[in-house]
Symmetry: C4
Subunit: 264 residues, 4 copies
C-alpha cells in the first residue's frame, strides 16, 4: 500500500489500530490545547506560567498545522476536504495563532480552537462500534420534529408569560422590559431559577407559581418523546426469515421456526 | 372560482401554496409586531428609535386591520367568526392601537397583541402534516386527566408543606405568611429554586431537604404519564391488508384475517 | 331507608348524587377554611379584615363540628371511626378552635386543620371513575420498592458528597458543618439550586460540577421507573380467548381468531 | 459447624437470620458513627456535648476494631480480604481514630469513616431479594454506555458554551475565566441555577436562554435511555418450558419449540 493511502487510512479512518491510536492521540492534543487556553484565561496567573502556556500553545499549533498539511496531502480531493465542515474547523483551529502575530486580541481568537472539540464526536465512532451512539442518534433524529414543535410551543408560552409578568410586576422587581420578562420566563419554565430576577408582589408570585407548575408539567413532554423513540427501537429479535414459511420475529438463538417447526 | 372563495382559501386555509404563503407571511408580521412591542418596552432606548418603532407599529396595525376586514368579507358567516376565539383575538390585536389615540396607556394595551401569537399554532398545521404535532397532541389529550390528578395532589402537598415551613422557619427567614410558605414550597418542589426565600434554621433545612427529595421523586410522575402515552401511541400492527376484505390492523404474525377469517 | 342509613350514604359514600354533592360541598368548605387561615397569617392585614376572617373561621368550625357529630351518629361503629385515620383528622380539624378559647397560640393550632385537605383525595374518587387515578396509584405502588432503593442510594451519595464539600470548601463559603454540606448536596443533586450556599474555590466548583452532572444523570432513574411501570400497564387488547384454539391477544374488534381462522 | 465457619456465615453473609441481624446492627452502628462525626462538625456546640460525642466515637471505633479483627479471623484468606475493596475501607474506618492520638487534625481524618457507608449497599442485598435493586442495577448497567456517550456530548457542549459566555459577558458579571464560564454552563444546563454567576448583558441573557432551552430539551435523553431499558427489562416471553428439550424463552404464541422443533 503506497504511503498516501496508508496515511489516509491512519488520519481519516478509525478502523485500523494505527487509525484509532491517531484519533485518540489527536483527542488528547485537542483536550490539552483546550485546557491550555482555558487556563490562560484565569486572571490570577503568574507571568512565568502564562509564558509557559503560551509556548505550549505554539507547540499545539505546530502539531495541528502539520496534521492539516498531512490531511490535505493524503486526501483524494483536497478542495472538497478544505471546504467541508471538518476542513473549515481544522483551518480555524490553526489560523488564530498565526493571525495573533499580526493582530493583537489573541484572546477571542483562541476560543475558535475550542470548536475543534467537535472532533471528539468523530473519535466517538470507537464507542459507536458498541452500537450505542448510533442508537441514540437515530432516536434523537426521529424525535427531532416533535421536539421542534414542542420548543416552538414553549417559546410562544414564554413570550406571553414573560410579557404578563412584566405588566404584573413592573420594573421595581427587575422586570424592567418585556425581553427581560421573557428571559425570566425561560429561567423559570426550564426550572433553572437563578433568582437574579424574582417576583416580589403577591400577584407576581401567584403568576410565577403557575409558570413553575406549568414547567413542571410540560417538562414531561420532551422526555416522553425521547423515551418513546428509544423504547420503539427495533426489537432485539433476529432479522432471519424461516426458509420454509417465511415467518419473522424469531429469537436470536432460534434453530427451528416457531411457526412451521422446520429447521432454519 | 369567485374572488370571495379564492380569498377564503388563501386567508383561512393552509392547504394551497398561496394559503401557506399567506400564513407564513402573517406569522412573520406577528413576530415583527411582537418584537417591536418588546423592544419599545426597553427603558434605555433613544427617542428616535422609539419614534421609529411607534411608526412601525402603525404599519403593523394597518396591515392587521386590512386582514381583519378581508376575513370578515370572505367568511361565509361573519358574525360567527367575529365571536369565535380567533375572531376575538384578531379584533383585540388591532383595538389597542386605535384606543391608544383616545386613552393614554398604550403600554399595557399593546401587550394584548401578543396573544395573537397563538395563531402560530395555526400555522403549525404545516408541521402537522408531518404527523408529529397531532401525535403529540393526542398523547397530551389522553394524559390530561392523569396530569390533572397529579397536579391536584401536588397542590395539596404544597399547601401542607408550605404551612409546615411557615411554622418551622417563621418570618425571620422570609417565611412571613402561609401564602409565602406555599410559594416557597412550589419553588422548591418544582426544583426551580430561586433562593429569594430559603430556610436558615437546621429544622427548616431538614424539612426543605425532605421537600426536595420528594420533588425529585415525584417529578417522575408527569414524565412517566406522557412517556407511557407516547410509547403506546402507534400500535405495532403490520401494514398488511387482508386480500379478501381489505381489513387493516392485523398483528404481525397473523395467519388468518381477524375480520373475515380467510387465509392471508 | 331509615334516616341513619340515608345520612351514612350521603356523608360517607360518594356513589349517589347527594353523596357527591356533600363531598364537593365539604371540599369547598375545607378550601375556604384553609384560605381563611392562610390569609389570616399575612402580616399587613387590616384589623377589621382579621376580625372578619376570625368570624368566618368560627363558622367553618361550627360546620365541621356539626359534620363530625353527624358522622359519629350515622356510622355503625363510632369508636372505630373515631380512632381511624380520617376520624382523628376530623377531630383535629375542630379541636384547635375550641382549645384556642383556653390557650393563646391559635396560630400554630389552626395549621392542623390544613391536614384535613387530605380529604381532597377522597373526593378524587369522583375522578377515579375515569380510571386515571387508580392506574396512577397502581403504577406508583408497584414502583415504590424501586424508588425506595433509589432514594437510599441518593441519601448515601449525598452524605459522602456533602462531607467532601465541607472538607474542600470550609466554612468561608458557608459550608460550616457536615450537615450543612449535606443540605447543599441535596439542594444541588435535586437540581433545586437555591444559591444560598455555593462553592467559591476552584476545587469546590469542580466537585460541584461533578455533583450536578451526577444529579443530571441519575434524575433519569425515578422517571424511568415510573415510566416503565405506566407503560407496562395492562395492554389494551381484549381478554377474549378463541373458543376453538384458545389463542389469546386478539385485537378488541377481532371477529375471527388470528390463529385458527374460526369465528369467535 | 465450627466457630470460625459460623462466624463467617454471620459476619460475611446475609442469608441466615443471624447474618441479617448482624448486618442491620452494623448499619445502625455506621449510621450512628456518621451522625456523631457530622454533629461534631457543627460549630456552635457546647463543650460537654463535644466531649460526649468524642467518647461515643471511641466506642464506635472499638466496636469497628473488634469487627475488623473478627473478619480477619474467620475469613479463609485474610490477606485477600485485607487487600479487597471492603477490607481497605474497613481498615480506613478505624485508622483515623488511632492516628488521631499521634497527629492532631482528627477532623479531616474522621471523614474517611463516612466511606464505610458504602456498606449500606451490601445490606441492601436484603432488599434485593425483592428483585427490585437487581432489576434497577441491570437496567443501569445496560444503559451505562449510552449515558457515557451522552455525558461526553454534554461536556463538549458545556466547554463550547461556557467559553462563548466568557467572551460575551466578560469579567464584569463574574465570568472572569473560561473555567468559570464552564462552571456556569454546567450549573445552567443541568437546570441547577445557583444564581451566583448570572448573565447581565442582553447578549448574555439571550445566550443563557438558548443554553436553558437546550438543557431542557436534552434532559430528556438520559431519562429516555433509562426508561427504555427499564421498559425492555422483562422480555414478555412466556414462562413455558419445551416439554422435549426444556428450552425457555419462547414467544407467547409459539406453537413449536424454537430449539428442537417439536410441537409444544
Amino acid at each position: 500500500m503506497p504511503l498516501r493511502e496508508r496515511l489516509h487510512e491512519i488520519v481519516f479512518e478509525a478502523d485500523t489500530r494505527a487509525g484509532r491510536a491517531f484519533d485518540v492521540g489527536l483527542l488528547v492534543l485537542i483536550l490539552g490545547s483546550v485546557v491550555a487556553i482555558a487556563l490562560e484565561s484565569v486572571p490570577d496567573l503568574g507571568a512565568e506560567h502564562r509564558a509557559g502556556l503560551r509556548a505550549l500553545e505554539w507547540v499545539f499549533t505546530a502539531l495541528f498545522t502539520l496534521e492539516y498539511a498531512v490531511r490535505l496531502y493524503c486526501v483524494r480531493n483536497p478542495f472538497a476536504y478544505a471546504r467541508s465542515f471538518f476542513g473549515v474547523i481544522d483551518l480555524l483551529a490553526i489560523l488564530p495563532a498565526y493571525l495573533g502575530l499580526v493582530f493583537v486580541d489573541t484572546h477571542s481568537l483562541g476560543i475558535v480552537r475550542v470548536l475543534r472539540l467537535v472532533r471528539v464526536f468523530r473519535v466517538l465512532k470507537l464507542v459507536q462500534f458498541l452500537g450505542e451512539a448510533s442508537v441514540l442518534r437515530a432516536a434523537l433524529r426521529r424525535s427531532l420534529h416533535k421536539i421542534i414543535v414542542f420548543l416552538l410551543a414553549v417559546i410562544c408560552m414564554v413570550i406571553v408569560l414573560g410579557t404578563a409578568m412584566y405588566v404584573v410586576e413592573g420594573s421595581a422587581s427587575g422586570f424592567d422590559s418585556i425581553p427581560r420578562g421573557i428571559y425570566w420566563a425561560i429561567v423559570t419554565l426550564t426550572t433553572v431559577g437563578y433568582g437574579d430576577i424574582a417576583p416580589k408582589t403577591v400577584a407576581g408570585q401567584a403568576l410565577a407559581s403557575f409558570v413553575m407548575l406549568l414547567g413542571y408539567g410540560i417538562l414531561a413532554v420532551p422526555t416522553g418523546i425521547v423515551s418513546a423513540e428509544l423504547v420503539r427501537q427495533p426489537p432485539r429479535t433476529s432479522t432471519q426469515h424461516c426458509p420454509h414459511c417465511a415467518a419473522e420475529g424469531h429469537a436470536d438463538d432460534a434453530i427451528f421456526c416457531r411457526r412451521c417447526g422446520k429447521s432454519m
